[in-house]
């Protein structure tokens, strides 16, 4: 238990520090990297013809979508012709069409759901030019969207910020430097970083063992820093080469927690901007606290469930002192695995250091619920935007209850915004539940299910929750490399990402254009601990109302079965 608490305590100063740095980068304030980075950025601006003019909300979204479309196009072509290209020492073949479609959407939307296995599905060149490339750009896209959103909430005009400038700056000044440092730490712990082919060794018993190598560490770092989550190897961060030691495990967890949390800090500073100097703005702190509470509830539940172990294994008469070890690695044990599971689904990274399919029913329900809520910190940038939807909804509900005009940061929330907010909140559960219904109703959907009973439904729910939340972890038993699963999850990821971003930026644009009203005595205060509790209650209530029936049929039924 202590090891979990200490990781969380180390996290706090790190996230505040990074939040301040992120704020300075976003608001174009001086940082110590400027003398060097300004030159680099100017070269990039010049080559690309970026003019650094302010954009309206519409232009911003359009630039975001067009650039993502180009990247999808480049990546898809590469996957289809990878066997003819360089750096393919292990003779990997071209990727099949529906799988390539799924893979490209998956990486462009920051989801990283993988229906292929890295060792046998991708050449080293594809790992770099498709996977690593998209890990940087999809994270930068999410962050740019988030900053455009936050800026509009505190601004008085809709024309501000340039997508390309934000996009370049976040890669060169935030993602790249952190990734290089993390990659080197991971190599020091034992993650390979080489271009030479897989090695076959002769064991002392005279047999052979294949050892899969490759440029693992460079992918591993951005995978976590950018909350991407797609592994170099099939078994992701459970494999010793992706996650060799407990130290690397902690580094990977902290690096995925760093930027989503820092976004909240940066937002808090933008709100408090021009008022007075502060370490952590009050408005952001209330949101951070709400996220933190939801995170801790999940963490404690997973830990207790896994520690207790599987009663069916205890019945066999062996000792289960270590907790439920099926699908877990010995070097991590239950504590480090429970923490990783909660972090990876709360921060929607989707890497796994233990196999979620083998978690105890309640232990597996928590990651699923985290992704269904999709607001517990969330992926890079988009998590904060999702939470802001709930913040606005909470203000609206609370104000209705006390008979006030709903108002946030001096902007009135009116009919048009509320309609969009409701739509935005509904998209996510609609995608999960409708696609799950489709899957269990069709033979090609059911064909993917590999575990009998209630757990089969959990596998389906988990897959679509993961796709729609752009998380990317899986109940990996699901036989998901079929046309049905490739196409449906591809669509779920696509809509889950772009529909939401478009709607959210539209809401921000509407708010940005509004008149600013100063707070009066009658205004609902949104930066108090009272508001934090309200927010948590609304999130849990909406989540529970939407997903409880499905969860009751899946994990809860399974839990009751194995304990009966």
């Amino acid at each position: 238990m202590w090891q979990i608490a200490i990781v969380c305590i180390i996290y706090l100063p790190l996230v505040i520090l990074t939040g301040h740095y992120l704020f300075r980068v976003t608001m174009h304030k001086k940082t110590w990297l400027d003398p060097f980075m300004d030159k680099v950025d100017h070269v990039i601006y010049k080559v690309c013809g970026i003019k650094q003019v302010d954009m309206t909300g519409k232009q911003y979204v359009l630039s975001l979508i067009i650039s993502n479309a180009f990247m999808v196009f480049i990546g898809y072509i590469l996957l289809r012709i990878q066997s003819f290209l360089l750096l393919n020492p292990n003779d990997i073949e071209n990727m099949e069409a529906s799988l390539s479609f799924n893979t490209i959407i998956s990486f462009m939307t920051n989801t990283n759901l993988q229906h292929y296995s890295g060792e046998s599905g991708l050449s080293y060149l594809s790992q770099m030019l498709v996977i690593i490339f998209m890990m940087f750009t999809s994270a930068a896209t999410g962050y740019a969207a988030c900053m455009a959103f936050c800026r509009r909430l505190v601004a008085k005009s809709d024309t501000l910020g340039n997508f390309f400038v934000d996009f370049v700056r976040v890669i060169t000044r935030v993602l790249m430097p952190i990734s290089i440092v993390v990659a080197i730490i991971l190599v020091s712990q034992g993650a390979p970083q080489t271009f030479s082919a897989n090695q076959t060794v002769q064991t002392i018993e005279g047999k052979m063992q294949d050892i899969a190598l490759g440029p693992v560490a460079s992918l591993e770092s951005i995978k976590h820093v950018g909350t991407n989550g797609g592994g170099f190897n099939g078994a992701n961060s459970t494999t010793p080469f992706e996650n060799p030691t407990v130290i690397s495990n902690i580094v990977e967890m902290l690096s995925m927690m760093l930027l989503p949390g820092a976004c909240v800090v940066a937002f808090s500073l933008m709100v408090a901007y021009r008022k007075k100097k502060t370490i952590f703005g009050k408005q952001g702190l209330t949101i951070f606290a709400a996220m933190g509470m939801l995170f801790l509830i999940g963490l404690v539940t997973v830990y207790i469930a896994e520690r207790a172990g599987n009663p069916l294994i205890s019945d066999l008469g062996i000792t289960q002192e270590l907790g439920s070890m099926e699908g877990k690695e010995m070097r991590f044990g239950v504590a480090q695995s429970a923490l990783f599971t909660t972090v990876t689904t709360a921060f929607t990274t989707g890497s796994v250091n233990n196999m979620h399919d083998t978690l105890t029913p309640i232990g597996g329900m928590v990651p699923m619920f985290n992704m269904m809520l999709n607001v517990v910190f969330g992926g890079k940038g988009v998590g904060l935007m999702n939470m802001m939807m709930y913040v606005l909804l909470t203000i609206f509900i609370a104000c209705l209850m006390i008979g006030r005009t709903p108002q946030f940061l001096g902007k009135k929330i009116e009919e048009k915004e509320m309609k969009l907010i409701a739509l935005c909140i509904l998209i996510h559960p609609a995608i999960i539940l409708l696609f799950s219904a489709l899957a269990v109703a069709t033979t090609s959907g059911v064909a993917g299910i590999t575990n009998p009973g209630a757990h089969g439904l959990s596998q389906v729910l988990y897959e679509f929750a993961s796709a729609s939340a752009n998380n990317g972890s899986g109940f990996e038993g699901l036989a998901d490399n079929s046309t049905f699963w490739n196409v449906t999850t591809g669509l779920a990821m696509f809509f889950g990402r772009y529909l939401t971003i478009i709607l959210q930026l539209a809401i921000a644009s509407l708010l940005a254009k509004k008149m600013w009203h100063s707070d009066s005595v009658g205004t609902l205060k949104t930066d108090t601990s009272m508001f934090t509790f309200l927010l948590v209650a609304i999130v849990l209530m909406i989540g529970a109302l939407t997903f409880l029936p499905a969860l009751a049929l899946g994990p809860i039924t399974e839990h009751l079965q194995i304990h009966s």
């Binding site: 690309c48 003019k51 770099m128 490339f133 990734s179 196999m355």
Partner: protein
Amino acid sequence: MNRFWDNVKQALMVSIIMFVVCGLIYPVTVTGIAQGLFKHQANGSIVEVDGKAVGSEKLGQAFTSAAFFKGRVSSINYNVYTQEDIVPDKNGVIAYGGVSSGTFNYAPSNPELTKRIEGDIQAFLQANPTIKRQDIPADLMTASGSGLDPHISVQAARIQIDRIANASGLSEKEIEKIVEANTEGRALGLFGEEKVNFLMANLAIFKQMKDNE
């Protein structure tokens, strides 16, 4: 409209530039630094015996001899295979399909899980007649997530000592010493679990057996 096409052009250029910077320059730079600073780790932490590569200290291996420690259950047999495993057998099935990683993904409620574990317990008890069922720790009978876990718990190593002493001709004291030497404590005394790297322990047993001959 002009503004629109201008944005399209910028979008294309930014994609191409980042394609080169993130996809090429970044991994090559990291490889350069890694190979310079940590050559051993960057190439897979390969261990050698008499100048020949026999494995990686980070990856476990499947062992069949009674004289060596057995690791955790692996759905991929630790990517260990023989010549017969790569040609089709009489049913046309190839036992080893190429390097991979992963686990069985059996749900806690899956009857296959308890069936597999019960089978493994029986086999283990037969090979280790001095051990009682309730002494077997669950990690030894459950599958690791990666199928490549190089570690077992200290208890899982202890209950194999009797069998190994019998089969290898080493004394129990010697094996206990080997276990102790290959036990890795918690990182900074706090993080993770106490565990034994069984590949390294087996290499030590192998060397000792050779010396004793």
